[in-house]
Amino acid sequence: MSLDQFVQYLVSGLSQGSIYALVGLGFTLIHAVTRIINFAQGEFVMLGGMMSFVLIRSAGIPMPLALLMSIAIAVVIGALLYALGIRSARKASVVSLIIITIGAAILIRGIVAEVWGVDPVRPPFFTGDKPLPFLGASIHPQALWIIGTTAVVTILLHLFLTHTTLGKALKASSVNPKAASLVGIDPRVMGLVAFSTAAALGAMGGVVMAPLTATRYDAGIMLGLKGFVAASIGGFTSPLATVAGGITVGVIEYVAIGVNWGPFTSSYKDAIALVILLLILLIRSGKLAAEERAS
């Protein structure tokens, strides 16, 4: 593989990995605050892309407005999922809540398939599609949008969590929900904020990604899974590690395709992230066992 080919794959991996990072941040946020694994996380990404296409192409709404509306729609759905799905279940076990998110995921998927069909759709590029030269390779401007958006969002999220009252309340709630509620932080509000923010993060990823990769009613499954891998790398607690994890997965995926040797081919691309996931779980549990032995 030549240098410019490598750079090509690297950038593709970086941009794809950025999406995984955003999805992963959503997982981490929700898990930290509510201990739930939100299986509908990937669907928010799909919704972002799908809605932007529908609004721009079918409804003729100008792009900037359409993008904002797409994110807003996802946020509303995320909030509804929390308010109607999670809150209603009251004393339900964590497993029941997880199943509710699974149900929500396939419900969203089914509705999208029902209303807008199953064909892939591609919203228009933000700034056209003239490739930009870089280190001998040509980079699609949309890829830069993806990477840039992720970087900005990550920084904003970090600032939000550390410098705003709401953000700090969220962190407090994730560390110790009981203590947080004792000082007046309502866990229900925190849950709502977590779900809404996670939906926004996913949808943002979706709107920047869809023009480049197109999107389909079932795009959410693999995106959700890979975002989960990113979140696992971050231990479901560290946003920074999550982002790093997501990018790593993306890069490995694309470099592996580029190498195109043995099992590292495009047909097995999806399996790579999953194998990473299983490795992480194995390592984690191995460490846990070693900890138990060493006391």
Binding site: E292, R293, A294, S295
Partner: protein
């Protein structure tokens, strides 16, 4: 009168992050006796209990049971070795009947597994008979025989605690750890409890209890160990402890702090 040591702790310590719950504890407890571990709040009593039961692993030092080190054996292995315990917050199986709760205690003393169970082999049948019989015996021992088929939550707290003692006894332990058995009991129930503990001792089982009720402790304990702020400050017979100046100071100090 020779006294065998059943439990020994050597330089036992446990910290949680920066907090030292237990420090440099040396402990020798005799077999077949009723021993009590007391001390003001935060003294480390529950930590010690959990270390013996295997819920926590020591940060330093070690625990020997019947002369052999327990090492990092997890709780389920310790039950098989003969260490049984009850819990401060009861922890009944509310999805099993009263009798089934005690039958569950027979788990480490029975063998048949998936295969025999799946095919209903005679071995499974025989063992089930034994389990059921023994469980009834323990249930009768604590006086709950007539409630065998009831839902455990239908029992008042005092009887729920007796049930967990029966359940722990069903593991046929050599050492029984009772975690605040008297908490929440009225005077009459506490008397019954003392009686029961003496009967358990007479069965040859060593009993260690963590308890706050001084009357209960002084009434049955043959040996008392006093902890304060993670360290042993005194040990001896009940009457020795009652006169020990350090012990009095530790408890008085607690009273002053509350004021």
């Amino acid at each position: 009168m020779s006294e065998e040591t059943i439990l020994e702790a050597k330089r036992l310590g446990r910290s949680f992050g920066g907090i030292v719950a237990l420090e440099n504890l040396d402990l020798t407890l005799a077999e077949g006796k009723i021993s009590a571990i007391i001390g003001p709040n935060g003294a480390g009593k529950t930590t010690l209990f959990n270390l013996i039961a295997g819920v926590y692993m020591p940060s330093s030092g070690e625990i020997h049971f019947e002369g052999k080190p327990l090492g990092n054996a997890p709780p389920h292995k310790r039950a098989a070795l003969g260490i049984a315990r009850t819990f401060q917050n009861v922890l009944l199986f509310d999805n099993l009947t009263v009798l089934e709760n005690v039958m569950a205690g027979q788990h480490p003393r029975s063998r048949y597994g998936f295969f025999e169970a799946a095919l209903r082999l005679p071995k499974a049948h025989r063992e089930e008979e034994t389990i059921s019989l023994k469980a009834r015996r323990y249930l009768n021992l604590v006086g709950l025989g007539m409630y065998a088929d009831h839902n455990p939550l239908s029992l008042p707290l005092g009887q729920q605690k007796l049930l967990t003692i029966a359940r722990a006894l069903a593991t046929e332990p050599k050492l029984l750890l009772l975690d605040e058995p008297g908490a929440g009991l009225n005077a009459l129930e506490k008397e019954g409890l003392s009686e029961l503990i003496r009967r358990i001792r007479d069965m040859g089982i060593t009993v260690i209890l963590v308890e706050h009720d001084m009357d209960l402790v002084m009434g049955i304990a043959e040996w008392v160990v006093v902890l304060d702020s993670g360290q042993k400050i005194a040990e001896g017979t009940a009457s020795q402890i009652q006169r020990d100046k350090r012990v009095i100071a530790a408890y008085l100090g607690e009273e002053e702090a509350i004021e």
